[in-house]
């Protein structure tokens, strides 16, 4: 199912550096050096996502620390046959970021400060590697294939951390409609991005 991730992450694994899956297996055995290496490989992606959701840098670093401690604690629960290590880590990272929004006032304050955003945030193309830029553009292009309403709903929940009920309230549409848009939107993205099992 994870052809997509594997392909992407092979790009930056140009050297003979151990894969994230290998590192994670060593982390499960208490290998601190492997943990440090895994951190170096993926921490910027984790912090990038968390900061995209939380905006505030200090808070994002805090959550990133929690995420990596969780990786350390639960590495033994990672099952490689269920998917790549990056998928496991990024899913955990997103859930932690969302938990932070839901559990604090940060989310609300943040909303009033920045208002509604979508995928078209300022993006620093210069600082990024070619691989990262290709990924970004691929996702942007896939997002552009969604209906405006699907795109809004997906973006509001994934990047702005709104629950589907909040999305319904925000967009003044019935909850059932939001559910359908989120599902149809993700299915469309899945097909556009070629994520398949």
């Amino acid at each position: 199912m994870l052809d997509l991730m594997t392909a992407e992450f092979n790009l930056d694994a140009a050297s003979t550096a151990p894969s994230k899956e290998e590192l994670l297996a060593r982390v499960a055995g208490g290998d601190e050096a492997a943990f440090g290496e895994l951190y170096d490989q993926i921490a910027p992606r984790v912090l990038g996502l968390v900061k995209r959701v939380l905006i505030d840098h200090a808070q994002s670093e805090e959550v990133t620390q929690e995420i990596f401690l969780e990786i350390w604690q639960t590495a033994s629960r990672y099952e490689s046959q269920r998917g790549g290590a990056s998928t496991w880590i990024m899913t955990m990272a997103h859930r932690r970021a969302i938990d932070r929004i839901r559990s604090s006032q940060a989310g609300r304050e943040r909303d009033t400060k920045i208002g509604i955003r979508d995928l078209a945030v300022p993006y620093d193309h210069v600082a990024e590697t070619v691989e990262v830029r290709i990924e970004h553009e691929r996702v942007e292009k896939a997002m552009s294939r969604l209906t405006e309403l699907q795109r809004q709903a997906v973006s509001l929940s994934y990047f702005s951390g709104y629950s589907h009920r909040e999305v319904a309230e925000f967009l003044h549409i019935p909850l059932g409609t939001v559910k359908t848009r989120l599902r149809d939107g993700l299915i469309r993205l899945r097909d556009e991005l070629g994520v398949a099992s």
Partner: protein, 306 residues
Amino acid sequence: MTDRDQSDNVTGNGSTDNPADLAGAYALHALSAEEAAEYERYLERSEQARIEAAELSDTAVALGLSAAPVQPSSALKASLMAKLASTPQLPPLSAPAQPAADSPAVTDAPPAPGAPLTAVPKASDATAPTAAPAAPNAAPRTSAGERAQRRWFQRPAGYLVAAAAAVALFVGGTFAGQAIYGNPNDQFADQQAASLAEINAAPDTQRASTETADGQEATLVWSGELGLSAIIVDDLPALGDDQDYQLWYIGEGGPISAGTFDSTGSGTSWRVLDGTMTAGDTVGVTVEPAGGSDQPTTDPIVAIQS
């Protein structure tokens, strides 16, 4: 929001009660805990839905990877690496091949703090993964994952003994509670290990660190939801036979004893506190006559507020 999409509305209104409709919101972490649990019950019944959930979760990850990477401060890594030693790891979910009979030896003679931890049985070394839980989702620690973990910790003692051994090894230190309970008390050790792992696996786990009066690193890990906390101290000095370390929950009603423990003087000592933690409680450690006191008789060597 003015360009309302009519076809969306029609399908949306017609299918509000179909659990399959939650697939998108679930993958995007846009459901409440209750709703996610409901969807996971549905996943357990439907292979088709599990495949969809995994694919949509991967799709969400692709969105996550489209965010611009941000380089963390170097302080973040340093602080993280420093926390590893006092952060116990969960043992693998599938039962280790190690027989339970080995564990008393392990807890009696903990490895030196720097002992290689790779000796711990890994999931990949275990025989057929008979105990693999039916977690329906590839996502780590979704509430389904958490439930699977809780189920695991509710399993019979035989497995928990092995878990206790594994946790003790991972911590690389002493099982603190043991010495004062006379003979190694396996059941107590099991409960302690299971509780510690449960705290670490709780959705609301928090931790706070400080130094003891003598400068040892002390960490309190707690879960308000479980009402449980554990204290983890590095290189806590050994006490004579006539003294014990005693734990206290200090809330509005004053200090309440939360058990005693001992230390071998090196490595990591830890102890899950007895009783129930109330949010905001301060956890204190004092040195008391062997067996403990009703009220603290000395100043705390460390106090951490939850």
